[in-house]
């Protein structure tokens, strides 16, 4: 005969399955927390290192963003270190915007072709090829840029061949598959009856594409382009291999230049931790990080606006 207390205890005890349930929930949630901790860690570490240039080395933030001379080891006439990051910031933006401008018409044109004009050929030829090219490592793009694009630029425009133009060509080919496949997704999301309604009203195929499908897919297409820009902005090695790595204001598109990523990849290994030269590089990394957050924000805003319509 069990006492009521024992009985109560037995009834209120977790079953084996319930314990397993709690265990599973805790384990899977801690995996999730770990990822969040990584994100917070990355932002925290890079920010604390990047800010050190301004707090412990007393560099003026405005000078950092607008001065044109990048020689962190040298001090200028006023005894201030030369840490003007403008050439790299301009280089990064120029290369990103130019490659997006060139890639967008090609990517959207191809996506329209794949989805609206010839779905059969699109599925058989273009889809597998773009999928494969999305996966090609960026160093391979860089190497091809170095062995094909740079000599071609040199032959046509003279100079060394290294520069913004070569970088733009490499990034154009690199983001093309990504933007194309995302644009295809955006076009695919446009309901079929939009097209049917337009054609039934007597519109030609081009009028349907231009006035109905592309308009309806605009938020998705914009997301695709911004995504491509984010990828171009953050790309390091492929750009570093063809841009020439001269931290100067680019005078023309065929002069050697530098981007935030190219200076980072070449510089971090050659400076001493904690020195001004090193801190200045971390500040560049912080700019890169903040820009990738901005791109993220833009993509979110576009998504929200697209949903409202």
């Amino acid at each position: 005969m069990k006492t009521t207390q024992q009985l109560e205890k037995q009834l209120k005890r977790h079953s084996k399955a319930a314990k397993l349930e709690i265990w599973g929930k805790v384990v899977s949630f801690s995996a999730l927390l770990l990822i969040v901790a990584v994100v917070v860690g990355i932002i925290g570490f890079v920010a604390s290192k990047g800010i050190a240039t301004f707090t412990s080395n007393h560099v003026n933030l405005w000078d950092f963003l607008t001065e044109k001379k990048w020689n962190p080891g040298i001090t200028d006439a006023n005894g201030k270190p030369e840490v003007g990051a403008l050439p790299m910031i301009v280089g990064s933006f120029l290369i990103t915007i130019l490659s997006a401008i060139v890639a967008t018409p090609f990517a959207i044109g191809t996506a329209v072709f794949m989805n609206e004009i010839s779905p059969n050929k699109g599925a058989k030829i273009l889809q597998p090829v773009t999928e494969l090219l999305v996966g090609i490592p960026s160093v391979v793009y860089g190497f091809i840029g170095l062995s094909v694009v740079v000599p071609a630029t040199r032959a046509i425009f003279g100079g060394s061949g290294f520069g913004i133009l070569s970088g733009t060509c490499v990034l154009f080919v690199m983001i093309l598959p990504t933007v194309t496949s995302m644009s295809v997704d955006a076009l695919r999301a446009v309901p079929r009856y939009y097209r049917e309604a337009s054609l039934a009203l007597g519109a030609t195929q081009w009028q349907t594409i231009y006035k109905v499908v592309l308009r309806a897919a605009t938020p998705g297409l914009m997301t695709a382009v911004v995504f491509g820009m984010a990828r171009a902005f953050g790309e390091a090695l492929a750009v570093q291999m063809v841009i020439g790595n001269a931290a100067l204001m680019p005078g023309s598109l065929v002069d050697p230049a530098a981007t935030l990523t190219s200076v980072l990849t070449t510089g971090i290994g050659n400076t001493v931790m904690g020195s001004l030269q090193n801190n200045a590089l971390w500040s560049l990394a912080l700019v890169l990080l903040l820009m990738s957050l901005v791109f993220n924000l833009i993509i979110r805003l576009i998504g929200r606006k697209g949903r409202l319509q």
Binding site: K25, A31, M114, G135, I144, S147, T204, G269, L288, L289
Partner: protein, 294 residues
Amino acid sequence: MNPKTQNKIAIGTLYGVAGLVVLILLALLGYILVSGLPQLSWHFLTAPAKAFLKGGGVGVQLYNSFYLLILAMLISFPIALGAAIYLYEYARDNWVTTTIRTAIEILSSLPSVVVGLFGFLFFVVKLRLGFSILSGAFALTFFNLPLLTRSIEDSLRTIDLSQREGGLALGLSRWETITRVILPAAVPSILTGVILSAGRVFGEAAALIYTAGQSAPALDFTDWNPFNISSPLNPMRPAETLAVHIWKINSEGIMPDAKAISSGSSAVLVLAILIFNFAARYLGKRLYKRLTSA
């Protein structure tokens, strides 16, 4: 201009644009394979690299790439699986979940060079792991986690709700339903996702140059004691991968046949990605047939 001519011109232009893009992409693939495949030989794939002379191979780099890939996958898969299970099966739709999703999105959009720099700061310098396979594997894990989590979550999404209801109706707990019913059904598509992300990890270089290092000490393939410095299994040795090797010899290499070696290495990388892609499709289909007896 009347709408019909306009239509013809526009469609013609689109044909031209699509054709040009196909041409560019095929020329790219063709160039990699045509210039790279003649370089491939058993010697090239197995011999160690030479710094100053020609005739070196990429054996050590190739081995390092695979070793790092396997380590990174071993670390990132359980974490991504747990995170995806919680996100899709347990998480309620509230601000905590939204914040977590935003964090994952941010991680996936971070440039890989930033992830690599963080790995350098945290693992190489703070935890004093040095330029090592372990540091590299952690950096690759961070790079891989958001993509893998998203792909596993997508796999879970494809499993019908009725399967979950069936499990619960039989008196299984939610966790039991997940491990006994949902996961077995999702294995084929999870596997496809894992292999595809493996392809991305295999070719990653920017996250590795300051974590796994840029040097490849000679390995003694008869010594499998992980504590010896020349053992291939030692996780604390610096390890240059194939992708890093291509970058390294092109930016500061001094061997006379740098171009030939890069062509060969590029072809190996692209072939590996091709194999990963086909394997993902084939294994996914095969497993799906076997597990669902469809």
